[in-house]
């Protein structure tokens, strides 16, 4: 696995900026006028009580939802109407709150699928499966094996993911996202439903990804301990609106945040 190439943004500069984004479904306002940015190589957490619009925010960032208002600029390009695969092409990968793996495929194939965008041999080479197509397949298998090694899932590489326990499924999903060599990795509650040990493992992987490959990470997580440990900066959403944006320590002391978590009426 290599550090993502082709990115023109230097570490510490703004990689993605969200400006005045609003999103509503029918009459329900999921996100109201939220702005924040994500800097290159940081771990950015998005937190908030249930229904705060965190997942919607990720969905907007990777093109699953189209915001009614606002601008999103990624790697210096402001995009208008975008589909998830455009986001993927741009270098955004993500994982889901409820594991969204390809259940009919093995862990290995799932992660290989993550490399779809990096593979370029055309149809006919693949039909013949000789020469360049084979070389390409080998090359990417090698990359994928490095990820498997990294995530310590060697023992399950050929197991259909449907049969894996939840914690391992989450790991495979992370592997699939890593296989894309993204500039920005969106993690939607990567530790939901895990036990302590699994959480520790996952935290370690997240830190390692960030440190080893310099991947920028945006993270939604409920476990405050994890958030405070991992993240460089935290955005706090409540009822679709941003109520704080600061370092973990500052956020912890922010009265608005405390109120939101304690459920003080608005």
């Amino acid at each position: 696995m290599r550090a993502p190439a082709g990115s023109t943004v230097a570490a510490g500069e703004v990689l993605l900026s969200v400006e005045n984004v609003s999103l509503s479904f029918g009459g329900v306002k999921a996100i109201q006028d939220v702005s924040f940015d994500i800097r290159k190589s940081e771990v950015r957490a998005i937190i908030g009580p249930n229904g705060a619009g965190k997942t919607s925010m990720l969905n907007v960032v990777n093109g699953f939802y189209q915001p009614q208002h606002g601008r999103i600029t990624f790697k210096g390009t402001t995009r208008t109407n975008m589909r998830p695969y455009d986001a993927a092409h741009g270098g955004i990968a993500r994982t889901f709150q409820n594991v969204a793996l390809f259940r009919g495929m093995s862990a290995l194939d799932n992660i290989m699928a993550g490399r779809t965008l990096k593979m370029h041999r055309n149809f006919f080479w693949q039909i013949l499966r000789i020469g360049p197509a084979l070389a390409e397949e080998d090359e990417h298998r090698h990359r994928v094996e490095e990820i498997i090694d990294f995530l310590e899932i060697q023992a399950i590489r050929k197991v259909p993911v449907g049969r894996l326990p939840y914690g391992l499924q989450k790991r495979v999903e992370l592997g699939r996202a890593l296989a894309m060599e993204p500039d920005l990795l969106l993690l939607d509650e990567p530790m939901a439903g895990m036990n302590l040990e699994e959480k520790e493992d996952m935290s370690r992987f997240i830190v390692d990804v960030n440190e080893q490959y310099g991947t920028t990470i945006a993270l939604i997580e409920h476990d405050m301990g994890v958030v405070m440990d991992l993240s460089d900066r935290v955005v706090v959403l409540d009822h679709g609106a941003k109520i704080a944006d600061a370092t973990p320590d500052d956020v912890k002391r922010d009265q608005n945040v405390i109120d939101a978590y304690l459920g003080v009426a608005h």
Binding site: T55, N59, F64, F96, A100
Partner: protein, 306 residues
């Protein structure tokens, strides 16, 4: 030209009611058990054969009652032998199993009841009625048989609607349709509900079978009318009873009008060997419609969540 068009429209709408009747059986089962029941056509054949052969021995009303009994036994057999053993399988597997059931029923029905042509006599005049002869030359033709079918269909739909809305079983049924697991967790016996819908759908099949049987004679080809109900289904939405009715009307009218109006044009333009476009036209109509509304006319909106 208006006269013929109007006449075609009316004829089409009335035929559409018949399609709707078959589609209704599909919808009932799909709604309650998620099974795309391809055996509906075979059930119609089986029902029609039962009524026809029983009516040779008994008066028609008794034959119908007996046939209802037969269909309930059949529903029980299907539920017990097939569906119960395929719980929690994917939709496509259930769909295939109903294809198997269809094969079985076609063979079984003909073994049990014979494979000749049999009659069902509903005592409705077959001679056409001509309306508005003064307005349009030749009048507007109405087939009394089809009118009768429409009436029966209307009654059946009303009864079903009442059944669904008012009775306890109906409510349970709707609950199951909404969410299997939830319904089960509040103690609704799933197997029983399935039995009820399959039996209901069997009774609908009797109605459809009798009307088609009286029109065509009861024989094997009746099972093929199921194919005519498919575009109706997707047009109306797989889960919607009103959808089946409205879809049936649209398809019935649409295909007949297309055959009469578009057919000759196509023949002229492309030098075709005859028209006969109504077979695919219904599907293409449904397809075009789906492109606009992928879940059908009254189908539940598919909301993608992640």
């Amino acid at each position: 030209m208006l006269g013929p068009i109007l006449e075609t429209l009316i004829g089409g709408l009335l035929t559409g009611v018949l399609y709707a009747l078959v589609a209704l059986g599909f919808v009932l089962i799909f709604k309650a058990s998620g099974v795309f029941n391809f055996a509906q056509g075979a059930m119609v054949l089986f029902a029609a054969l039962s009524v026809a052969r029983l009516s040779e021995k008994f008066p028609l009303p008794i034959a119908i009652v007996l046939a209802i009994g037969v269909m309930i036994v059949l529903a029980y057999a299907i539920e017990f032998l097939v569906l119960r053993r395929l719980v929690n399988q994917e939709g496509i597997v259930l769909f295939m199993s109903t294809l198997g059931v269809a094969y079985f029923l076609e063979g079984f029905g003909q073994t049990l009841w014979g494979s000749d042509i049999y009659k069902i006599d509903l005592g409705i005049s077959k001679n056409p009625i001509f309306l508005f002869e003064s307005v349009f030359p030749g009048g507007i033709l109405i087939d009394p048989e089809e009118v009768a079918a429409a009436v029966i269909c209307a009654i059946l739909v009303t009864v079903l609607a009442v059944f669904f809305q008012v009775t306890r079983v109906g409510r349970a049924l709707r609950a199951v349709a909404d969410d299997h697991q939830a319904a089960q967790s509040v103690g609704i016996p799933l197997n029983y509900i399935w039995l009820v819908v399959w039996a209901t759908s069997g009774i609908v099949a009797i109605a459809a079978g009798m009307i088609w049987g009286s029109k065509l004679g009861v024989q094997f080809s009746i099972s093929l009318v199921a194919l005519k109900a498919l575009p109706v289904l997707i047009l109306g939405g797989l889960t919607s009873i009103p959808g089946a009715i409205v879809g049936g009307l649209i398809i019935g009218a649409g295909e007949k009008l297309a055959e009469i109006l578009l057919g000759p044009l196509l023949i002229r333009w492309f030098d075709l060997a005859g028209g006969g476009i109504e077979n695919w036209f219904a599907y293409v109509l449904a397809l075009l419609f789906l492109l606009v509304r992928p879940q059908g006319l009254f189908g539940e909106r598919i909301i993608e969540r992640i």
